[in-house]
Symmetry: C2
Subunit: 227 residues, 2 copies
């Protein structure tokens, strides 16, 4: 039974990447504790997706942390007065949420210490991505270094590792990996402005990256698009 | 007027240290934006204190972020089933809240980016302190390094600085500095288990450090103690 497996905190957004990340963590022998955030994101259908994915992977401990609306701001994903762009932009796009992954990883760090886990999985990717600074390997390395100085566990010699199994993969490779591990991508929602039923716009950066991933992987795209 | 002053996010708990930190930030010419957290802490009288302190220093922008109870756990400060110790302990005490300063600084980082501030002040101290790992200079340095890789501002060349003006001071020196800058310590609450009116227990680690600080500074202790 799972008593003997090491625990890992998995940041589970409900998108394609985090679902794949969960599948990888399980395949590597971890007992996943999933952590999702309700932060007033525009694409709240993601949260429903995170529940479906956790259920599909028999995750028995899935925590959804609700953050006060406005706790994270300054982004088209949290501020409905900023439009989600439907064309690629130069530089860091307006969908960037300041310090989002830092905040998510910080809560994951606290949870990992409480449940005595040495591993945190986050599905960041620095190949087919929106250019967010907090998805890059140098950010993750700096966070891991900080994490090991921040905690009692770190001081006492336990090493906390931030696992980023997707960071160097193309979207097509992520999809191939997930399919091999049994991910049902029909359950996932990646769109930055999905409707309440989780149907994707097909036009935002995230939709474009996802759609191209299925094309490049040569597999059918199970995404439900808005009419 | 304040338009020309650089903004700084000040983590304001309502205790002696953060009140002094706010006074220092103002004295250095920053326009303070105060950030407090309601995280189900045992000593919630701190929050009322933070409001009084912000008012005393004419802070026009004081944000209180409420975190879901249980978002931070595993500590005598957040879990009422764990007793607050009244004697000094070896190592890191049970009042340590896993990843607390990491979480607080992460939200400060996001807020700083949104309001376009290059400075965050945190009143951590590594001299007269409870031995928490996330109060040490090596943690702060690692957080600052990470912060500058995490954000759009960092990528675009703005340097975010984490100011820790108290980190190497004794409690007595902190008190002397604060008195010189007009801090009314009667407004502050440091006790780990203050009552609803903010009266201190006089016995916890934080009370002991505070009381000794006033004695060493040779000034009257304005703390209101429980009968």
């Amino acid at each position: 039974m799972s008593q003997n497996k090491p625990k890992a905190v998995i940041l589970l957004s409900g998108g394609l990447d985090s679902a794949t990340c969960l599948a990888i963590a399980k395949s590597e022998g971890f007992e996943p504790v999933a952590l999702s955030f309700d932060y007033g994101q525009r694409h709240n259908a993601e949260l429903a997706a995170s529940r479906r994915i956790a259920e599909a992977f028999a995750v028995t401990d899935h925590r959804v942390l609700r953050l006060q609306p406005g706790a994270m701001g300054g982004s088209a994903l949290t501020d409905t007065t900023i439009a989600v762009p439907t064309e690629a932009s130069d530089g860091i796009p307006v969908t960037y949420v300041p310090a989002r992954n830092t905040i998510f990883l910080s809560f994951a760090l606290g949870l990992a210490e409480v449940i005595v886990a040495d591993a945190i999985f986050i599905g960041v990717n620095a190949v087919d991505y929106s250019g967010y600074p907090d998805c890059r390997p140098e950010f993750i390395e700096a966070f891991e270094r900080m994490a090991n100085l921040a905690t009692k566990a770190g001081v006492e010699g336990h090493h906390m590792k931030i696992h980023t199994p997707l960071i160097a993969l193309t979207k097509a490779d992520i999809i191939r990996t997930g399919l091999r591990l049994g991910v049902d991508y029909a359950l996932t929602v990646s769109c930055y402005q999905a409707d309440i039923d989780g149907r994707a716009c097909g036009a935002c950066d995230s939709c474009r990256l996802r759609r191209k991933g299925f094309v490049d992987a040569g597999v059918p795209d199970p995404t439900r698009y808005q009419a």
